[in-house]
């Protein structure tokens, strides 16, 4: 039986799609094919902004920009003969590529057998055969760089620690994921815990560690539970403990819970936290690879990095190195959120354009609004406006634009998002999370936030904009750790790309996006108002009154400028100034 899945276009082309389906059904009936072909609406067949689209199963042909005149040919060629119709077939589709998420949604995360059946622990077996030196070599071939944000080559990190003398060496998995809107690590820990455990064991072989720690934030109870179950089952089956897989390699793993402080994602603060001390960073050098946990050489790898490691050792570094682009190999998982149609996790090969991620995989902006920019890298990153969306994804390419790859948060911003408001949000996050140890971060952050608040209230002067970048540069240079050094990035990048918006706030006392509530006011145009009363019903401040005859008015004193009446009015009677 053939199946024809028709894309639900979410309101757009609703009538045309319906008519197309009716016509298809009647032609199938005329030819006596109704019982051999099932036609149905699907929520999403992965095609966006290409008119009416359908997919035929089991062949998997996707046809786009369809009109009713195409129906006979589709029936004749595809439904009867199983051939593809030229001209309407979708071309150049952009897909995801799953390496880190290879087992997520496929295996039972609590079953060791299921993981082993999907090539689990083969990488470990191979690493034991190769020995430390060759494992590092394999990693060098793969070109894998740290997925936590900074992008330091993993093989180099391992090689440094391997070369340092020490009685005891440690490996720590950094699962202290704290960027707003990012949850790649949680998903991997919950969906495929053994891949991370295996990656850590391979790292331990490379550097000669005997003990590993998972540092996971306590807000991830399910991730902690599944990792703990994974560790327990490994001990019971002899995959952890003494003489693993009949070799001389012995290794133990423990979990440490983080209390949710953002600064503990910074490696020196993380080490202090694992030691049971307050999560304060300390100046580097000495780097943890030389002097880390309890003064011993320590490697800290991100969750996603370790999930890559088990894949690389299983499939070979050379094969992995061919994925992606020069300097940024492999794939990257992004947590695509914000004003995007398909929010969720996407894993794409490096080198894919930002436009493909947002529009082809993400399905474009919600409610068909205009896109403004994307924000990557969380509070340490920056915004990338639409004119740069053709940039290929990579560590250096994003850095050139004033943002960073970061751990993988990608937030889509539309025309209703205000640049000042966004930088205020991210800076506010860093001010809250600043540990307070060094003055540049503690004082600088607070001062910058005060200026941003002044701007959003329309009370700033032109000099404030210069002051803002001056403090930002001082913070970047003088802060003790990564948190303070990168906290000004969202402000600097919005200043760079959306200066006109800042100036509109400062000089004209206007917020072009209509987000900063002290700078916008709403009124109802009497001539356009139909008296339906929708605005009065949604108003949370009870500021709108009137009746069908008298029409409605907004009480400016009670109004909190939330804009709900503006969004809800179907007759554009509510105007924003």
């Amino acid at each position: 039986m053939k199946r024809v899945l028709i894309q639900d276009t979410n309101g757009k082309l609703k009538k045309e799609t319906r008519e197309f389906l009716v016509s298809l059904n009647s032609q199938l009936r005329d030819r006596g094919l109704s019982s051999e072909v099932q036609t149905l609406m699907a929520a999403d067949i992965g095609v966006y902004n290409r008119g009416i689209a359908l997919k035929v199963l089991p062949e998997g042909f996707t046809y786009v920009n369809l009109e009713q005149k195409h129906i006979p040919e589709i029936i004749e060629k595809t439904l009867l003969k199983g051939e593809q119709v030229a001209g309407i077939a979708r071309e150049g589709s952009v897909g995801q590529m799953r390496i880190v998420l290879r087992n997520c949604g496929v295996i039972d995360p609590e079953s060791l057998e299921d993981y082993i059946a999907h090539d689990g622990y083969q990488g470990l077996a191979r690493a034991l055969e190769l020995g430390p030196e060759k494992v590092v070599e394999e990693m060098k071939k793969s070109g894998l760089r740290g997925r936590g944000g900074a992008g330091f080559p993993t093989w180099m990190k391992w090689n440094i620690t391997r070369g340092v003398q020490g009685n005891e060496k440690y490996i720590i998995c950094n699962g202290d994921e704290g960027d707003p809107g990012a949850y790649m690590d949680r998903s991997v820990l919950e969906g495929d815990p053994h891949s991370v455990i295996e990656g850590m064991m391979i790292g331990a072989i490379a550097i000669g560690a005997t003990k590993g720690f998972f540092y996971i934030r306590a807000e991830y109870p399910l991730a902690v539970e599944r990792i703990q179950k994974g560790i327990d089952i490994c001990y019971s089956r002899g995959l952890l403990g003494k003489n693993i897989l009949g070799s001389s390699f012995s290794f133990d793993i423990e979990i440490r819970l983080g209390a949710g402080a953002f600064v503990c994602g910074e490696e020196t603060a993380l080490i202090a936290s694992v030691e049971g001390l307050r999560g304060y960073p300390r100046p580097r050098p000495p780097f943890p690879s030389v002097k880390g946990l309890w003064g011993n050489p320590t490697v800290i790898n991100n969750v996603e990095t370790l999930a890559n490691v088990s894949y690389i050792l299983c499939k070979g570094g050379e094969a992995f190195g061919k994925i992606g682009v020069e300097g940024s190999t492999g794939t990257k998982v992004f947590a695509l959120t914000g004003k995007v149609r398909n929010s969720g996790l996407v894993e794409v090969p490096m080198g894919i354009s930002l436009r493909d991620i947002v529009f082809e995989i993400g399905g474009g902006v919600l409610d068909n609004r205009a896109i403004k920019a994307i924000q990557t890298g969380g509070p340490s990153g920056g915004v990338i406006p639409e004119q740069f969306f053709d940039t290929p994804v990579g560590y250096e390419s994003l850095q050139k634009l004033g943002s960073i790859m970061g751990s993988g948060g990608m937030i889509v911003l539309d025309e209703n998002d205000c640049a000042v408001d966004i930088s205020k949000f991210y800076l506010g996050f860093c001010v809250d999370e600043s540990c307070g140890k060094c003055a540049p971060c503690r004082v600088g952050g607070t001062q910058m936030l005060a200026i941003l608040k002044k701007i959003s209230h329309g009370k700033a002067e032109e000099e404030d904009l210069a002051r803002l970048s001056q403090i930002a540069q001082a913070m970047q240079k003088a802060s003790l750790c990564g948190l303070g050094q990168t906290a000004p990035n969202p402000v600097l990048s919005t200043l760079k790309y959306f200066m006109s918006e800042y100036r509109a706030h400062v000089i004209d006392h206007k917020c072009p996006a209509g987000k900063c509530s002290s700078l916008v006011s709403y009124r109802i145009t009497r001539e356009k108002c139909t008296g339906c009363g929708m605005c009065a019903r949604v108003c949370p401040a009870d500021a709108i009154s009137g009746s069908r005859q008298d029409k409605y008015t907004i009480d400016a004193v009670k109004c909190i400028s939330c804009g709900q009446c503006f969004d809800v009015c179907k007759f554009t009677a509510v105007s924003r100034q």
Binding site: R3, I116, G191, G246
Partner: protein, 113 residues
């Protein structure tokens, strides 16, 4: 008993040989559970039992499309393998009735990832 490299291969082959022909996977990470995967899982397992079907219902991690959770992937003989999103109790019943038993895909909930 400590495991050896040969044991790994043996487990792999044994597990692969024992893979069920018909299965349903339910996304059971924090995102799925928050969206109601527990209820969906209960309905699906309950129906399999009540109807005496040879069908494995398995808890899995997240497939990634969080905006369409709970996600359920279905593979049964006689129908193509598809992923259903925004599955609730009613849709779960429909999946059992229409997809599993009648081999007809359920309208309006198929997602491509």
């Amino acid at each position: 008993m400590a495991m050896t490299k040969e044991d790994l291969l043996a487990i792999k082959n044994k597990t692969l040989a024992g893979q069920p022909k018909n299965w349903i996977r339910v996304g059971y990470s924090t995102c799925g559970i928050a969206a109601g995967a527990k209820e969906v899982l209960e309905v699906l397992s309950g129906e399999v039992k009540a109807r005496g079907l040879e069908l494995q219902v398995k808890k899995c991690g997240c497939l990634g499309l969080c905006s369409a959770e709970p996600l359920v992937e279905v593979s049964v003989e006689g129908a193509p393998r598809v992923i259903y999103g925004k599955v609730n109790k009613d849709v779960a019943h429909k999946i059992m009735d229409e997809h599993v038993c009648q081999k007809r895909l359920v309208e309006g909930h198929i997602y491509e990832i």
